[in-house]
Symmetry: C3
Subunit: 258 residues, 3 copies
């Protein structure tokens, strides 16, 4: 299938554009870019934005991705297949992003971050340098992940958010804090200490309020763990990942009981 490049787009001859890709109006593709097949870059984007200190470090975006308009991606980061972004998204250099990741409108991801497969960032999330966000984590609008314990300083420490954890809107995670697997952080929380796996925490500062499984919806049904309720949103292989995670979790529990 042919590549479609809008006549107003500016595409470096050094960029490697996979088959069936599409580059929208007024977008700019710089030198050190590799786009997988079927990937769509919409209008007004800068892809592979160059920094002098990165030399020829490559920006790679996997196949079947969609980057919406007005987004800026720096050279030197890698995205797995099936990326989807909103509009006006910035992702800086040297980040490693998994497959099936969603990055919402007006998110700002600083450099040297890691995002696992199937991470879902809603709108306006700020992710500081060196953050780790595990697979299947959701972060809701306007959250801030910080990295400087004594601002301003050079001693930055990224946050660590483990798989299947949830961070609700407008929360702030302080530098170096670890949010455990499947933990749920309530809206507008200031997380200044580690949150154990499978715990619900909220408040300013956040306090642990109990096990996520105690949380019921209006009809009295347990709402967590959330993954089985939403499994249809994910690719088929995600169910196998969840099941192997559950087995590992059970193994850890029975180890702990012995």
């Amino acid at each position: 299938m042919p590549i479609t490049i809008h006549p107003t787009a500016i595409v470096s001859p050094k960029a490697e554009i996979g088959e069936n890709c599409s580059i929208g109006p007024y977008s700019i593709i710089y030198d050190h870019v590799t786009l997988g097949a079927n990937t769509v870059i919409q209008a007004f984007c800068e892809i592979g934005y160059m920094r002098d200190d990165l030399e020829d470090a490559r920006l790679t975006i996997g196949a079947n991705s969609l980057v919406r308009s007005h987004s800026v991606f720096y050279q030197g980061s890698t995205f797995g297949e099936h990326l989807q972004t909103g509009h006006h998204v910035i992702v800086r250099e040297q980040s490693q992003i998994g497959r099936y990741v969603a990055i919402g409108t007006l998110c700002d991801i600083q450099g040297q971050c890691q995002l696992g497969d199937c991470v879902h960032l809603h709108s306006k999330v700020f992710v500081a340098q060196l953050s780790y966000i595990g697979p299947f984590v959701w972060i809701f609008p306007s959250c801030v992940l910080t990295n400087d314990p004594h601002p301003p300083s050079y001693g930055v420490k990224g946050v660590h958010i483990e798989n299947y954890a949830i961070v609700a809107s407008m929360s702030t995670i302080l530098p170096g804090v670890r949010v455990g697997a499947e933990a749920v952080i309530g809206a507008m929380s200031l997380v200044n200490r580690n949150v154990p796996p499978r715990q619900l925490a909220f408040g300013v500062p956040a306090r642990v309020w109990g096990d996520i499984e105690q949380r019921m919806d209006a009809e009295g049904k347990a709402v967590y763990p959330w993954f089985p309720n939403l499994k249809k949103r994910y690719p088929a292989e995600a169910m196998a990942v969840w099941e192997s995670y559950l087995q590992a979790r059970e193994g850890q529990r029975s180890d702990a009981q012995q």
Copy 2:
């Protein structure tokens, strides 16, 4: 009067552009768009951004509107006359927006929202799907209106903010919460329960602190209700709306006293 389309703008021949409209440099007007007379679309905008699932749903922007640069409006929403936006505004599909609405720089309005006449959103407000914002409401910078009581889930419930209510900067409104008419929410509040009409509430979580009429400015004058103080900012007909609202409010009070 003629239509002015900058030579670099990309305008679909299917779009309906009212007389005396102006389309700025590098802006894109897609197929399913109707612009009322005298409306200005500035530079770098996408108007009528298309989604496959919306078929030919139309984006309508009323007459005498101004959409500032780098804004993205999806197909399938309707705006009344005299819209004014800041820069980098995103409004998604199937929202119904009244007349004389102001939407500030870097706002993100998700789909299926309702905004009444004369709503004023300041910069960086996030409005989740299914939100209802009544006429004459003001929302100040960086507020977040949420919609998911048990994130992530399919059971979303929009917030409901009634006419003349005020939400000060950096506040978060939790899903399904109702903020009563003329209520005032202080800055950086987490509103997790309904706020009755004409009450002042603030805090994390927000607590009701009394009637808005007790609130005085530095000179000892009552600052609420605010509408009479600012009536010059509004079209003449807004005063009649306020007066009929006051009459209805009095009627409710005397009913309540009987």
Copy 3:
């Protein structure tokens, strides 16, 4: 050295462009603009955005500046030399900005603000009209500086943040509040009262917790005052500014003790 204007840029013949400047693809330079030598305007910017009420008020950007892509600067503001911005930055009219200022991605600076030399705003900061930010102040992501004590009203009062003060992420400063020199505001604080110089304050609402010099890092070293630790980031003359500030501070102390 010649000026480099991308063939797709739209540059008013009335604009004054210094030698060796560069204007990126699809950027627009309006009439009332003066750019100092060696300044770079990247792609998709609007520089000197015009308002009818400002007539021919000039936007001046000093030499050796870098404005990153998708930024919008209004006519009528002045920037000193060595400005650096992130992407999608908005700066409105009639602001006075010093030299060596950094303004992060997605910041929104409203009109009539003052920012001193070497101010550093991280991403997504909102700065309301009439704010004063002294030299060497740092403001971290997603902070909001407000200006309306009784929203909505005409009685706006800007905040006043003095030199070398630090405001950590997601904090809100209420209207008219004064944050003293070298004070440190912790993350997610609501600052509703003045903070004395050299004090650490945090919380909702913020409370003063003691002198900044009590604050130690993980290795037991004092982290404040921060300037000496970061002096290499600043131009050489900044050290002399710090030393004269220290002398003035000592003078005030010995005055107070007599």
